[in-house]
Symmetry: C2
Subunit: 334 residues, 2 copies
Amino acid sequence: MPPASAIALRPCSAQAHPNIALIKYWGNRDEALRLPANGSISMNLAGLETRTSVTWDEKRVARGDAFNLNGSPVTGPGLERVSAFLDLVRKMAGFDFRADVVSVNNFPAGAGIASSASAFAALALAAAKAAGLDLAEADLSRLARRGSGSACRSVPGGFVEWAAGASDADSFAVSIAPPEGWPLVDIIAIVSEAHKSTGSTEGHALAATSPLQGARVADAPRRLDLCRDAILKRDFAALAEVTELDSALMHAVMMTSTPPLFYWHAPTLTVMQEIRLARAQGLAACCTVDAGPNVHVICEADAAEAAARLIADMPGVREVRRAQVGGPAHIESD
Amino acid sequence: MPPASAIALRPCSAQAHPNIALIKYWGNRDEALRLPANGSISMNLAGLETRTSVTWDEKRVARGDAFNLNGSPVTGPGLERVSAFLDLVRKMAGFDFRADVVSVNNFPAGAGIASSASAFAALALAAAKAAGLDLAEADLSRLARRGSGSACRSVPGGFVEWAAGASDADSFAVSIAPPEGWPLVDIIAIVSEAHKSTGSTEGHALAATSPLQGARVADAPRRLDLCRDAILKRDFAALAEVTELDSALMHAVMMTSTPPLFYWHAPTLTVMQEIRLARAQGLAACCTVDAGPNVHVICEADAAEAAARLIADMPGVREVRRAQVGGPAHIESD
């Protein structure tokens, strides 16, 4: 690694999409390294993105990082989490400079899409590149994982699988099909814009208190096989069955944790039931729900219009958003 | 056993209450014998009852049983299930006479209370007594179990535990506290009067298809201990925690079966959430949900009025019923 003085430090800006998990990540084997209890599969969400620029300041040293999110300076725990992540990059780069981080999401907080995945994927790429590091995709995915587990899945493009791995070295995500491999659509039914009462990081730590987490994790390799096969074969019926099962399994663990976590609201259940009925009548649509009340309705492209109309009319649905399958995290200005 | 001709056969009428399980029965080790996957604990529901009279007719032989329910003759599968149950009594009595069975529930079908438990407890008692059999409570409970698993819990009084047992011989229910042991109240929030799409007998057979059933069953002895201790110590906080956990565990198995069984409706979730919030603010009330959408809100006596008012105002609640802790199955006219 070259000494810091030999590196040409210049601002760098990167973009990354959030992703929606079809096989969920819930619970860590190692909280500090964010090594997951089980592997997961997701698709990136096109159109939705975080844009993050990083400028390393050679004149000043760390612990004075600045973080601006959506136009407002962030302090306290939000800044500390970013700064702790930047420490990893500083260690890799062999310097101790402070960073200016400016980040913008083009989707609102509380829009049913977790922003931590796209945020840490874009930050990992921008911070590493600005530090003169040229990381392979796998290493960038590993780095992003340290900021937020699911961020590792926003580094590669399209349909992505995160192998649980045995250690930090082999726990990263890879693309299993490009965005154009299967033109699915995620129709997001926003039923609440309230911030969730229990954040994901805190929730992951509760997973092991459920009597069901062991069984969910033990069965995960089977579900990963079913989901990967369904994606590779474009078999929507198979994808729908395993996606809904996996979502129910994660919420089963959440609802039986100590304390229990109930993320579903009444309209969450209504959307899930109506989509199940519609699928029984031939609509290629299925549901998955993250650590919040909003429902992601995954559809085949030609079912998206009908699904969106159906959802918009349901009681308790405040807004409907759409996203196609997105590409990888990428540098914006290089 | 005396020959049939030596028995004085005369009509007999019995009453039994339905029960609400605090630790649930879901899934059988032996479907034919209805030997459960795990032990369960329930309380009988006073005021609600099935009254059943049985008359054995010495002049006619079996397979011509007659069954009248709530004033209407029953044929087809309903009669066949009763007749198959009466075969067990005929075998015990050593005769082959037909029976006239007349049964009345004082609570409507679709009122959020399964009638099969009180029905088979009352039928077991009336049919055995009318046949001249004088069964001990444990043997009566074993017999009722063969008609409907949870019926074995409607034979003893008050708070009742059904040990899973190792075989037909030791799988029966016993009282662990009398009705006056703890004056709890069950406030039943009726959110739908529709018949459930998947009956319990069919549902039990699906339990083993869930990846979670093994973990739910393995953890059951711990929950039985917690629930029994809470009842004996009248510790409502402990009862509430284990009751809500156990209900969530059963629904977790249901929702992750193949095919999945979603019994909750949107208002089911609303009632559960509001009662959890009210309990956090000091109301001694907790929720449990059987294989249907209605919510049983278990309360301490002095919380019942407030809980009933709270529930009656919730969206989607059509009717509210109440029951105190009930006594054992008993002969009406002897």
